[in-house]
Amino acid sequence: METVMFYILGAITVASAFCVVLIRRPIHNVLFMILTMIGLAGLFILLHAEFVAMVQLIVYAGAVMVLFLFVIMLLNLDELRLAGDPGGGRWWLGVLIMQIVLAMLIPVLAYFGTSAPADAAKITTPSNTTVVARELFTTYLLPFEIASVLLLAAMIGAVILVRKND
């Protein structure tokens, strides 16, 4: 059962990621991106990370991608078709290199072996959300606070970057 789900979701994710990279029409890119997100969220659930999966859906598929959508609409890039996109430059070289990297990574990753999943006791009892929340607000309190600063900075930044020069 789990295996089946994994392959289905994995297929969806990879396929839509492919589309994100290759399809020319921005709107479709966004939609496929959202699809990738959803796929990932599914995989997260398979991995007993329900909370993260939810956040994934809400923050990513919800907020972030909508932001993209806004921008595309705002600048109505949808009609815009850039010549020779995808492609151009020395892209093939990059891709080639990434293939090499991947080829080298696979044996490395193989190091982790085909270990059977441990029983996810720690991360699910009493419930994943509880565990995450507890960790987040005890051990990781400081980063959490710093993150707020980060977001604030990003906010101000976004404001002054797009502010019209008056």
Binding site: E2, V21, G94, L102
Partner: protein, 100 residues
């Protein structure tokens, strides 16, 4: 049955796809998306590890990655918009006033 390697491989593929996106796409917005893709791939790795190590640290880390990603997207898009306003182009390859 699904092992850790499956997930790692999947994420690696996603990561590579993200990089490919950055390398091949000219549309700035989509380049940003590809960056997101890379980050997501990393997220998957983290989650997989956290599952197989049975430690929640990875999941927490992912949350932070998401925060950062969101922030980067916000700023990135802002820059994209202002550049588009000034140059009327969203093509990454046009952005090369400064070189050498």
């Amino acid at each position: 049955m699904v092992t850790l390697q499956h997930y790692l491989l999947l994420s690696a593929i996603l990561f590579v796809l993200g990089v490919t996106g950055v390398m091949v796409r000219r549309n700035l917005v989509i380049v940003l998306m590809s960056l997101e893709l890379m980050l997501n791939a990393v997220n998957l790795t983290f989650i997989a590890f956290s599952r197989y190590l049975d430690s929640v640290e990875g999941q927490v880390f992912v949350l932070f990655v998401m925060v950062v990603a969101a922030a980067e997207v916000a700023v990135g898009l802002a820059i994209a918009v202002s550049i588009y306003r000034q140059t009327g182009s969203i093509n990454v390859n046009d952005i090369n006033v400064m070189k050498w």
